[in-house]
Assembly symmetry: C2
Homo-oligomer: 714 residues x 2
């Protein structure tokens, strides 16, 4: 500690601060400096080895209708440092054990004029910093309203950023790669149409925000443990390259109603000179509370298929009939409706999917469009839009339940809320009970369209509270939740591991809505996935959507091999094979990889990573010796070269490589793949081609000599 | 009908209208004229015999973000007239059978440009008019948003009005009596402080609005069947004396999200030259749908007492402790709290009330402040404020339940929501189940403070929907609802007779908060009570509140005899004896009337009525031959003179008269009362003195000659 105080003294002297204290990360590479500026404004700096990551940045909150904000005139009441180191076992995950190791600095600030105390807690991990504001119990400070959180992140340069436009209602944008100084210029182009969207600033961006500095630092800004607080966006002062927190407002424009005692979510800054460290970091989970669900035996990773892509592509419909331009539940008489002949969720069709799942080793079948109301469900701020317990006349719940049971298949329920949040909460108990009664133990919930109550946004405090409520209540019923269009996750699945999935980003569906950028999947793991798994719904084999629906000319900007690699690179305990059974039947050799790949892991090794360009990861299946590897590629063709040193020494494996053919291309030749089998050991070195928008997937199975006979060796 | 068409033709000629049609009330006294103005604007007029009640007034709705509003350019597509006459039996009420008799005119309007249809349905009763807008199912018109409803009520003169200030959040104002032209001048004075209030216009007033014209017409404007629509206020154009509807907005300022088909609430205009007709009218109920609760055996009128007035006066407290300035449910540890020694809802105190109830023939005991959270419950927009199932440590739910059962007493639960509506809905099922499990079949719900979701108001569509939801869900659990601070009723208790009470006006509690005007109770039956019963909580015997709490100098502006009369004049199937047992024990002879008086009736006869001055009503108890009479008086002393011709001919009764003493006065001598017994028949004529703020109450018991011996005869 002596050294710290010496440095702190030097800083005080140099910058005329009233107080400064430093903290080092366990490995010594990261240095945090907390300082009180001359006017009593708290601030912090972060450096990685000798490089500045965050320049002096102010901390604080502006309050509404309050005599004084929590911005300045603070003195130091107390500081405490400590070290924490433990290992914990996630219920599911990329690894079987997670180390939570950090040094902590807790600074208690006192504001004389108001007699208020504010604590800033910093946790410095090897791969980054987390800090939050804490408001301990105190007299005369019980409630307050936040006008804006004023947390700064002063960047040290005009970094390259991988960003999506700031929005109160959607994250479903393609990533833009640009310099920070270029964000303003791209602001309009970065936004595409969505059924619910609300912009707030031309330099507003969302977190998790990935950046790369000119001197090779990878920096990520995000938050952890977003509980009962508005979602944080960032607004850039692009003259000074300073990001400032920008919370999502409520219907009145307020940004947080707080009751003391309270802790804000953690603000996180990950940094490394190796991009793989960002992907491998478990810092976001570590900043969340431990698991609160006692019995987790019912929480199970699963591979599933679904009556879904046929609706997304327009081949079939969620709606049962075209008769009704407007539906009133309980009044509209479906028994008199003429079926439109395109309804996807029919008993017969669902049984076909159940058969396919059972034949190919999938655990579950999702069905959308099973319940009445889809003729009239968004765009009109409709309140009573779904009741979640009334199937269409052609969906026989009991028959499907029994058939699925007989085949050993779990059904996955779909609850589209249409963002009518009160309506969903009113039906939630009944809906969950109905699920349990019909053999469903997982729900995909959806929040399409503008939020009701009107004036609230997808990411405002009130609605954040709702998503959490739905997850916690689901846990009471032993139901797993996969929420779509909800707020992006912030590691809460550590505390509530029944939150097995989220969308909250641009998923595969957009490949049928006009396409996503081919490098999209090389960015998502650096951004969206840091907070938790994404139900990305990979596995599309037919890239020409017009083959499914002649009226849809969308193209899936990905090679088939890239689609296979996603099962590794887009980590999720819930993995869909999203394409239609008939498309899988056309490519049984490639489909074999999807059938083989695991969904839960003992180990994960990030082999290569560069945001926007490529990600290669190897994972060891939980409880088996099998390894799988996936590599996704951006726009430029490349040959990935790396050692297979993750494999167990002195063992031999058959590697089945599913790769792009030489002439493969996401646009012009996406289905050109080659499958080769080779014999490998942990000494082998691979040089594997990946096409534009391509990639490769490998399964490794331990084999004895006789099995290796005749195979080429690497 | 011939005559109608002749008159209509004449009107067309005289006023250059494009269409006009008339309708008469069953008794012929009221005439409605519907007319289409030259620009296709629908309009109506109403006259009573030869007097104009409503001058030509426009009808229509202004829509938001829509190409064209529903205001003009209409043509007549169809008109239909019909007659309806039936009798129906209310589950509880002032009378055992209600006649629903009206002539109807339904005008279907067509708007060429939009191809939309709008139907205006008029129902003309002997005592007034109801009309509503109906939007029948039609193509291309499925949803719309109301910017404002533009229904006019053009008054024929500068009437005297009995009004409370327009407000989106409270009705708890004293009535102001003024000319219409004086409303603006009184606007500020008419508003007193409330924990939630939102004004909108200096000439805004609430309904039900009572008026009296210079030529002796009593006119009332209100609405019926307010379901899934914002509460209607009225805004006065005080140059032209035209009221226009002013709906309560939502958080975004919108005034109604409508899905077609839809019917608005009824707009009602009652009119008579006899004020008693307004009080006796059942028009508001008749405009509601018939009872939707099949088994009503569990809905029972009740007289009750409660642990309530001691908190209202400040004698005791809802809160258990003074230790905590801020409470977080589930976290705050009450077992460690120091009791403040003033908590009202202790097991011992509740048992005392149960004993008193059992001894004096009351059916129920209400207890407020029984559940944790009251230390910190309003003013901070607190979301999770109560859980409705956790008693304070000193309130033994099981012990009280069993004790009440053993004494034959029903407990009445209190659910203060603190206007945190989402929180209440989240707990509603659990709370109702908890009630059933603990022998509670009635709930008093409360909506103190500003509404959550923030930005919504007590009377906006979203919240109207909530009140209805709570009532309907309560019916599922066989629970009766008595909602306080909710929207004022509009006859919905016909459809859901488990809505046995409402506050939604300035109740007796204000007598402990500084006092109400002494003539308040002579206005409420003309306004608030037209839509349904009020839980006014009468029966205060000690008017000097400082005798209960030395720190409270409020005075109850009422004589004791007036308090007795309220059990008749303020009709409710739920009647409280609000004062403390010890105050009743001081006046056992007067208390006898409260013990005797019925709460459900076969017949009611309004004997005298003048808004703001006096009301006298006689009622025959359900299933018995007993009659009771109550008379309340305003500020001026008077002698009421009337015949007892409501009594059964050729029978003799002992009338026990509880009346003001000659020197009684609400302010200076409120407890001066005299009780006399006289022998009466239906030929008797009474001349009974009533003091300022006073009144009298009479019970009539049939008696034979021997019982009448020695009694003076009237």
């Amino acid at each position: 500690m002596k050294k710290f105080f010496f440095v702190a003294g030097l800083i005080l002297f140099l910058f005329n601060l009233s107080f400064a204290q430093q903290l080092k990360s366990p490995n010594g590479k990261l240095t945090l400096t907390f300082a009180l500026l001359a006017d009593g404004t708290p601030s912090y700096q972060l450096s990685y080895q000798n490089k500045e990551v965050i320049k002096s940045s102010k901390l604080g909150l502006e309050l509404k209708k309050d005599k004084k904000s929590l911005l300045n005139d603070f003195t130091i009441a107390d500081t405490k440092t400590s070290t924490f180191d433990e290992n914990w076992k996630p219920v599911w995950g990329e690894v079987k054990s997670i180390r939570n190791h950090y040094n902590e600095l807790a600074v208690t600030l006192s504001q004389k004029e108001t007699n208020r105390q504010l604590l800033v807690r910093f946790r410095l991990f090897d791969e980054g910093l987390g800090f939050r504001y804490e408001f301990p119990t105190q007299k005369n400070f019980t409630y307050f309203v936040i006008k804006e959180e004023r947390t700064q992140f002063a960047m040290a340069g005009d970094h390259t950023a991988f960003w999506i436009a700031g929005d109160y209602d959607t994250q479903e944008y393609d990533y833009t790669t640009s310099k920070l100084s270029e964000i303003r210029g791209f602001a309009t182009k970065a936004r595409t149409e969505n059924l619910s969207q609300t912009a707030f600033s031309p330099t507003g961006v969302q977190t998790s925000l990935m950046m790369k500095s000119n001197d090779g630092l990878y920096i990520n800004l995000h938050e952890a443990a977003l509980i009962n607080y508005p979602c944080m966006h960032l607004n850039l002062d692009d003259k000074n390259m300073i990001f400032e927190s920008w919370l999502t407002p409520d219907a009145k424009g307020d940004k947080g109603y707080i009751q003391v005692p309270f802790n804000t979510p953690w603000r996180t800054i990950m940094v490394s000179d190796d991009a793989r460290d960002i992907l491998a970091s478990k810092m976001t989970y570590n900043l969340n509370e431990p698991n609160k669900i006692k019995d987790t035996s019912w929480i199970k990773p699963i591979k599933y298929i679904g009556v879904w892509w046929e609706m997304i592509t327009g081949k079939s419909s969620w709606a049962y009939t075209d008769d009704y331009p407007s539906v009133q539940l309980g009044i509209t008489d479906y028994s008199k409706a003429k079926p439109n002949g395109k309804h996807g969720a029919t008993t017969a069709n669902v049984k076909k999917y159940i058969d396919f799942a059972a034949q190919n080793g999938f655990g579950g079948v999702l069905v959308e469009g099973w319940n009445v109301g889809w003729e009239d469900w968004y765009g009109n701020s409709k309140d009573y839009v779904f009741d979640f317990v009334t199937p269409y006349p052609d969906f026989n719940m009991a028959e499907i339940r029994d058939y699925a049971k007989s085949k050993g298949i779990k059904m996955i329920m779909h609850h589209e809320t249409s963002s009518s949040v009160r309506n969903y909460e009113r039906h939630l108990d009944t809906a969950y009970k109905y699920m349990r009664a019909n053999n469903y133990d997982a729900v995909k919930s959806g929040y399409v369209g503008d939020i009701l109550p009107r004036g609230e946004n997808h990411y405002s405090q009130w609605i954040i509270n709702h998503y959490q409520y739905a997850v916690e209540k689901a846990a009471d019923y032993h139901i797993m939740v996969n929420a779509h269009e909800a707020v992006r996750p912030t590691g809460i699945a550590r505390t509530y591991p029944n939150l097995i999935g989220n969308e909250s980003a641009r998923g595969t569906e957009y490949q049928a809505f006009g396409g996503s950028k081919p490098n999209h999947v090389t960015i998502l793991p650096f951004t969206r996935l840091l907070g938790g798994p994404m139900d990305y719904t990979p596995g599309i084999f037919e890239m020409d959507i017009s083959k499914l629906n002649p009226n849809n000319n969308s193209h899936v900007n990905s090679t088939l091999a890239n689609q296979l690699a996603l099962y590794l690179t887009m980590y999720s305990p819930l993995q869909m094979a999203a394409d239609l059974p008939e498309n899988y039947n056309r490519f049984p050799d490639a489909f074999q990889f999807i059938k083989d790949v695991a969904v839960d892991w003992d180990e994960s090794k990030y082999v290569e990573a560069e945001p926007g360009q490529y990600i290669t990861v190897a994972r060891k299946a939980k409880g088996t010796g099998k390894w799988f590897l996936g590599s996704v590629n951006g726009e430029s063709p490349r040959t990935a070269t790396f050692k297979l040193d993750f494999l167990v020494p002195n063992k031999s494996y058959i590697a089945t490589i599913y790769a792009d053919a030489k002439d493969a291309h996401y646009k012009t030749n996406p289905q050109a793949y080659v499958i080769t089998k080779v014999a490998v050991t942990n000494q082998s070195k691979l040089a594997q081609f990946a096409a534009p928008g391509g990639g490769f997937a490998i399964s490794f199975v331990e084999a004895d000599k006789s099995q290796l006979k005749g195979l080429p060796r690497l």
